[in-house]
Amino acid sequence: MLTLEGLTKDFAMTRAVDSVSLTIAPGELVGVIGRSGAGKSTLLRMINRLIDPSSGKIDFVGEDVTALKGKALHAWRARCAMIFQQFNLVPRLDVMTNVLSGRFHQRPTMRNLLGLFSEEDRAAAIRALDRLDMAPFCLQRAGSLSGGQQQRVAIARAMVQNPAMLLADEPIASLDPRNAKRVMDALKTIHEDGVTVICNLHTLDTARAYCTRIVGMAQGRVVFDGPAAELTAAAAREIYAGGDEEDQAVFEEGLTSLSVTADPEPAAKAS
């Protein structure tokens, strides 16, 4: 159970996230939607403490995440994996090492620095890559791969962390529709394995197709929270067009579409 209480983040001139309170149950696949600048990224980054909240509290199963420091903070980040819009792999390292970095926290620092990885760790990395059809690229430099491939490497890195939760910050915003679908299908599989997934999206139809619950944000506030079926056209207009009447008049759901839809049955592993 992840509980956010009045979470707020102020930057120099703006309030990026404005007292957000949410409770997320284990095993949910939550889609956070909203325009660029609505505070979605900041919210996710606060959850795994890449940035510190200005005020408010994050609680995970009775543990005060906002108070964590040092080793305990690293342990929290390892349990709460994250993937990014720009993948954030180390381009000059090979795919395998990038994935193995997901294991750093569980291993002695000295062995990590010397690059001594056990067969077990390597096997875990290869299996994670294989699930995403990326095993053939194991020894290539991450920088030489396409965007879709890099995002799958990033997912493999997140998976070898054995996380309780996966945060995905606009994972498909830099990808073409076909790769976007592969990545979303992978997230769905991870969700079906019992990992809580929180995914920032700016396309409504993707959120509708994949998520069990949708949180809509506008100007740092939560303006919608409910199952996908309850997300009416009026609610969508509120999220994307805010209070601006002119924007509301021209708003069409198609504007946020990427034409990515889920398979009717649970995502089968591509073969």
Partner: protein, 294 residues
């Protein structure tokens, strides 16, 4: 001419802001030029540099170089060269020592710089105090010239190469540490954030997020430093830290002008050689990253 815009139109607002910025910029530019010109003139006045003295000295340089040139005749070229380079065996040995002093000094200096540079980078240091102390320490190491360090160590130990190696290592550490830390400050933060999100600690972030990005630059700065250090090693030989510098000093003190030109020419050729070798090594380092233009 365009027709007058209503004062509150978007175009007018943007244009006004742009004009404001340009005015500020122009003022800054003028101020900069005035200050720079004043500083330039003041530097010349205080340093007692006058164009007249410069012009006089200019020809003096050529006279000196001319005086040190050997007398070579086409008919007896072989013998003339042999007598110009009468000390070739000893000089080569001393030059080799100089290269070794420079090499060891560069290796130790680069190693020290490598360990300190991450602590001195604003974006990587664990806190401001550590960064501040590290930067001051590197500054101290590089502002004291090698020759001063060499004098101290020649006095502390004894005349000979070890004093030269330590002197060069300390200065190189200061100079490279600054350059390395500035390279670190220019890295792409994405990979670092990706690692942090896995729960990696500081050492792991540096080792896997920063080092792969900065290593080619570190290598090229270190090779450049090696070239500089050969020259430095030749000079500190003058104060008794071993190598070709000692030979050059003797030649200068005893007015053996042809020896001076012979030794200086050897040093120049040596630096050219190192430069070429260094370039090849560096290309091997970064070769696979060069954008192809195919």
């Amino acid at each position: 001419m365009t027709e007058a815009l209503p004062s509150n139109s978007t175009v007018a607002i943007v244009e006004r802001a742009r004009g404001e910025i340009r005015r500020q910029k122009r003022f800054q530019t003028i101020l900069f030029v005035v200050v720079a010109a004043a500083a330039y003139l003041a530097a010349g006045y205080i340093g007692e540099v006058s164009l007249g003295t410069l012009a006089e000295g200019f020809f003096g340089v050529f006279t000196y170089i001319y005086d040190t040139a050997p007398t070579l005749h086409w008919a007896t070229l072989g013998e003339d060269l042999a007598s110009w380079y009468w000390g070739i065996e000893r000089w080569l040995l001393e030059l080799w020592k100089t290269v070794l002093i420079a090499f060891l000094g560069t290796v130790f200096g680069a190693a020290g710089a490598f360990f300190l540079c991450f602590l001195a980078s604003a974006n990587l240091a664990p806190n401001r105090i550590v960064a501040f102390l590290c930067r001051r320490f590197l500054e101290l190491s590089r502002t004291v010239p090698e020759i001063v360090f060499a004098l101290i160590f020649v006095f502390a130990f004894q005349p000979g190469p070890p004093a030269g190696v330590i002197a060069i290592a300390i200065h190189s550490m200061g100079a490279l540490g600054k350059l390395f830390s500035e390279v670190n400050e220019n890295i792409d933060k994405g990979p670092l954030e990706g690692l942090r999100a896995t729960g990696s600690n500081w050492y792991e972030e540096i080792r896997f997020g920063v080092v792969p990005q900065v290593l080619p630059n570190f290598a090229s700065y270190t090779l450049l430093r090696f070239e500089i250090n050969i020259r430095a090693a030749a000079i500190i030989g003058i104060v008794g830290a071993g190598g070709i510098g000692q030979e050059l000093m003797i030649a200068i003190k005893q007015f053996h002008r042809e020896d001076q030109s012979a030794i200086v020419l050897m040093i120049i050729l040596c630096v050219i050689l190192i430069d070429e070798v260094g370039r090849r090594i560096r290309h091997r380092f970064i070769g696979d990253d060069m954008p192809s233009r195919g």
